[in-house]
Amino acid sequence: MTRSTTRNALIALAALVVLLALPHLGGGEKLADYIIFAAAWGLLATGLNLLIGYTGLISFGHAMFFASGAYSFGAIMQAQIMPVPLAIVAALIITGAIAALIGAICVRLSEIYFAFLTLAFQMFFHSILLSWVDVTGGDNGLLGGIPTPVFFGVDLNQPEHLYAFCVTVTVLAMYLMHRIVSSPFGFTLRMIRDNERRAIFLGVNVFAVKLTCFVLSAVFSSVGGIILALFISGAYPDFAFWTTSGEAIFMVMLGGLTNFFGPILGALILTGLNDIVVTYTDHYGLFLGGIILLFSLGLRKGVLDFVKPGGRKSTPAQPTADAKEATHADA
């Protein structure tokens, strides 16, 4: 272990301790619920950002992996064939396999077409969840709750245990993702994002790298789905609906896609905003839509994009071709 990885591990541990202590310092269950919810969404968003922010691939279909994590975990637990930790691993493997299949088809495409194809797959996945009633319960979701037998003395039926478990898994997943993006692999991703041609010249197998990233991104996003499934003791088709992807993308944008912690900050903000808007008004769309418009037309950059300017510059506000024009001109 190098010094910086030791330091990061210590930071992660400290974050975990703080998170575990938080609800007991006066926040109560409301705070715990909020944190679990934001953690689930935050993992989806951070996983997604491995693609968007680090590789420059905009997936509009990540909700399907969020759902596949939740559904496979829930279904395995309902079948009562393995304990929670193994079921999680199995759910991640299943998601990884699905992602590898879909990724192999999608990552060859660029830009908007990649986004559309992932969106198409997601809609297909969603319709399977709805119509394969025997396995998925259709629109009723996985009926009957998700049983969670005690393992290693952890009883997820107790709110305190559930909270501690979810927070631990989240911190662990975040730590692993951080290690990935700061590894040589992470640098390769950024090189592909910034200059794919250069990467090819340098002998990088771009397809393999993109596919690996796609799978990793899907797997981490599915951890978020598993946490949400644990929290509400069920899985529902709307996990795979495009609006779920849309919200995750908004979280990435809101927090900032150039910063590793941007998406999770975005998740914290948006989850909080949702709670506030729903609590104080019946006009969700008006308020949240207004906030989104203000953000996208006013701020334009995520919160953490301001704190730490990343490698990406924003292009001037002119139609696409103008911007293209400027870059291929002489000097």
Binding site: E325, A329, A331
Partner: protein
């Protein structure tokens, strides 16, 4: 009658974060043909773009016909009488030759419509049989003619002509030269950015030499020709 038609002072332009023009200045008199010389990458095209408003200079000012036009959008500059023929021609590949010409059609600043399709086909006879051909299928020389003709359809008072001879066969270059001479004779003011000095000699009266985004010489083209050291330093390949 010599009045200043177009002048620029202290233009600084950027592509993204990299600066390309540094304090670039020039001035063109009415009816004059000004050659903008310099090596590849010296900043000629950037100067043209900055004058046209296609690229917004970060600093500096441009006056045209007594008005400050820096900061104007290109269409406003064009409507004020400036015609622009870009370096890489930029014909609309999917449109036919005639549609390309019609795209450029507009009245001049005094409402004149001197350039009609007939006159264009007279001036550029090689375009006549190509009328309904897609512009993308034309040869480089034909595209250059088309691009120039398209701009003329807008009846400009001043022509910004960027590297018209680039990559073309000598015969075509010669034809273009003839057309330009006729235009000059008709009273059109021309700013001609070129690497090909020989091409400019016949056409231009004055010259500006650009290097590293700034004007290193400004004066009569004869004076430039006389200064072999300057030519060696900034223009020889």
């Amino acid at each position: 009658m010599t009045t200043t038609m177009l002048s620029a002072q202290g233009l600084c332009s950027y592509y993204g974060l990299s600066q390309v023009l540094f304090d670039m200045s020039l001035s063109v008199e009415r009816g004059e043909t000004l050659a903008l010389l310099g090596r590849n990458g010296a900043g000629k095209s950037t100067t043209m773009k900055s004058l046209m408003g296609v690229l917004k200079p970060a600093r500096g000012a441009t006056q045209y016909g007594g008005k400050t036009i820096s900061g104007w959008r290109p269409e406003r500059v064009a409507r004020a009488g400036v015609g622009y023929v870009p370096e890489d021609r930029q014909v609309f590949a999917e449109l036919t030759v005639e549609d390309n010409l019609l795209m450029g059609a507009k009245a001049g600043t005094k409402g004149q419509r001197d350039w009609t399709l007939e006159r264009i086909y007279d001036t550029f006879p090689m375009l006549t049989p190509l009328k309904s051909r897609q512009a993308g299928l034309l040869s480089g020389g034909e595209q250059q003619m088309l691009s120039l003709a398209r701009t003329l359809m807008g009846n400009p008072d001043l022509l910004l002509l960027d590297e018209p001879s680039e990559g073309l066969a000598p015969l075509i270059v010669e034809q273009i030269g003839h057309v330009l001479k006729d235009l000059r004779a008709g009273g059109l003011t021309i700013v001609l950015a070129e690497q090909n000095m020989r091409f400019c000699l016949d056409l231009a009266t004055n010259a500006v030499v650009i290097d590293h985004g700034t004007a290193v010489f400004s004066g009569a083209i004869d004076a430039l020709m006389a200064d072999q050291a300057l030519i060696d330093k900034y223009l020889s390949v």
